[in-house]
Symmetry: C2
Subunit: 420 residues, 2 copies
């Protein structure tokens, strides 16, 4: 069995492992002996080990899964096999958006290990960039391209029915990570008996109690969970929050697709927009320029709008082009007239916006009252100020989940964010 071979690497033995077992990568590093290689473990995520391995010529990243949820401990086991799916997802994304993902140099399923391209400074994690207030001129273009191309090319729009179902069969194997999402995003935040739920207390106690009694909200969340479980529209990154994106001005790299699965496209779009909106609400609580950073908050909100709009434009362009719309979905032969295609596209975008808003709402809620929170809000030290931001975010989130279908455009959603 794979797990009998597995051993977690440490800063002490990563270099030796590469020297002995991954000769190509060792040559890339350009070191003669281990002493010429600098190792630092930088995993700031919740789940895995991440080693930066710096040689005289080049630097690489070694990421290894642990057999449990790192931020919880060994009491919450998690399949090692996620590293296999992460490597496969990086490779699949590499085919559609090579510019936007790290290259995989080597992967080892038994060791749950990936050696990949280093994303060098001054790239930082997008969440941190949004917290410190960076303006990034290509961010919306890059993220919309990432989503449009990867979702389109893995969907029924591009694939034949059989190829699509073969892909679904393969990716269904990553069900351990899906189960984690099913629990922490869609269920636990609404369950009083889950001890690891957290929120800004006592300020949010009443809101949390209300959410758990909120029938309309819970039924809508249940429907979205069912869609998460029962829809296989496209290969989703599966964890596309602002902590899974590294940026510097003019460059965007999406990392960490270990949650990759065939799911509803709205889950992918919703996850990303939710994290922009969480940051938007956090800006009002940033003391830096007193009374919040209004102008930067507007940039964050505008960027979320632009991501959606550019995503739609790029996705529809791939659908409109016969060279890329080769799949069984809305098969071209049945929609020969341009106005038929446009009508189908209009309905598609409406439905996807509805799903996107619903999933975005779920994601916002779970980051405020569930197990895993976001630094954007957690870093607001004053609990009253933080709670005020969180309350606005929760209000918007509930509206998106329960009334998302009433929002016909992303501008209307941005207006909602401004006024809640």
């Amino acid at each position: 069995s794979p797990s009998s071979v597995y051993v977690a690497l440490s800063e002490e033995n990563v270099a030796l492992f590469l020297q002995k077992h991954v000769r190509d990568v060792w040559d890339l590093l350009g070191a003669r002996t281990g002493v010429e290689v600098e190792i630092s473990e930088v995993g700031d995520g919740n789940l895995n080990l991440v080693f930066i391995v710096k040689g005289p010529k080049n630097t690489v990243v070694v990421k290894q899964a642990l057999p449990y949820v790192r931020c919880v401990g060994e009491s919450w086991p998690l399949t090692l096999d996620r590293a296999f799916y992460e490597a496969a997802a990086l490779q699949e994304e590499g085919r559609h958006t090579p510019r936007l993902v790290p290259e995989v140099y080597y992967s080892n399923r038994a060791l749950a290990l990936i050696v990949m391209q280093f994303v060098p400074p001054p790239h930082i994690i997008l969440r941190k960039a949004l917290i410190r207030g960076d303006v990034l001129s290509t961010l919306a273009a890059d993220l919309s391209e990432f989503m449009a191309r990867n979702l389109f090319f893995t969907s029924s729009f591009h694939l034949s029915g059989p190829s699509k179902r073969e892909a679904v069969a393969f990716w269904s194997g990553n069900h351990g990570l899906c189960a984690l999402t099913e629990a922490v995003v869609f269920t636990e935040p609404y369950c009083p008996e889950v001890a690891h739920n957290r929120w800004t207390s006592p300020a949010l106690d009443e809101t949390v109690a209300q959410f758990r009694q909120d029938q309309a909200l819970k039924v809508a969340v249940g429907k979205l969970k069912a869609k998460f479980m029962d829809s296989t529209e496209a290969l989703c990154h599966g964890d596309l929050h602002t902590g899974s994106v590294m940026v510097k001005e003019g460059s965007t790299v999406v990392i960490d697709p270990e949650f990759a699965f065939y799911g509803p496209m709205g889950f992918e779009c919703g996850a990303l927009l939710a994290n922009f909106w969480l940051n938007y609400f956090s800006q009002a609580g940033r003391a830096s320029d007193g009374g919040g950073r209004h102008e930067y908050a507007e940039w964050v909100l505008d960027t979320s709008v632009a991501i959606w709009q550019e995503f739609c434009a790029k996705f529809l362009a791939l659908w409109t082009d016969a060279a890329t719309h080769q799949g069984e979905g809305f098969k071209r032969v049945a929609y020969a007239k341009p106005e038929e295609l446009r009508a189908a596209q209009k309905v598609f975008v409406q439905d996807l916006l509805r799903d996107t808003l619903g999933f975005a709402g779920c994601k916002m809620i779970r980051r405020i009252i569930g197990i895993a929170h976001v630094e954007d809000l957690e870093s607001i030290a004053d609990l009253q100020v933080r709670a005020a931001c969180e309350k606005r975010a929760l209000k918007m989130a509930r509206t998106l989940v329960v009334h998302g279908v009433e929002y016909a455009s992303i501008e209307a959603v941005a207006a909602l964010a401004r006024k809640v």
Copy 2:
């Protein structure tokens, strides 16, 4: 490779095959030599060989797939592996509704062959029973039970996320048959260039031309096709028309699940209801009692209503019961109050009715203007009379596809059938 072993059996060698290779079945037949066994090939379906094998003690059925679509010929190849999935589906259904499916005695993947329980006379194919005017007192109860139990127990309501995704992975392999449905149900009827489309001509020429120009219809069909391709709610029989059911008074047996796949529950319910409604419209064209058999038509329509109502009642009962609702979908812990469960169930039934009506409409259309027609209508010799029945069916079908969402109850749908 499996296909190198494959050879199609004939009436001449079926007995010898069983005698040599399937000893248990041979013993069941109770024959000492092949001369004591009577063989007849009865395959009236579109795809496969079906041999009735009668021995002195017992009779069994030997069904074997051919490597092409039987009713079209060798020019349309079709995967032999469907027999493997058919056997697996019969076995899965056998776990949930043993009374309602034939038992599998033996199956052989390489030979694409299944030996199963014989459903004896006076059972006949339900389609033929509805054509001749049989009243069957347990039909609605049995078919609603078949659908409710098989859909429920293979869905996220009963299964954990991981088990459900493992099941999806397995059944995704039956993609060749899904591709056939994608083509003949959702695409070809709307494409002038498909030569094997047929309809009652010239009476329906104009309607067919209109349908192919009907933007609202085609976009709605495209959405339903996307749902067929991208939804994995439950293991569906996949070909649940009245030709896949054998009946006698008090007994119902569902055969022929070779199209089994994980798909939207509405596809399953819609397929069955569509075939009742096609029969309903055909009754007005039956000369037997002059002016159509009004009373029997009402029984057919009432039965379709009862199937839906009893299906919902049985499915919701399984959901309400903690002993069967063990799955990740609408996880019980988050819906502890009875009124929360009821609210979730109400939304579920509404959504499922909408899907069911849409898929039913697609199925009705394809049986009148696509490749494969139904005997209910084809047996009406007078083409004007037949076309009049078909026009009403098409009118209802279009309404279901385009306006299905506006029908809040199955009674409203029955009223529509009566008045179109």
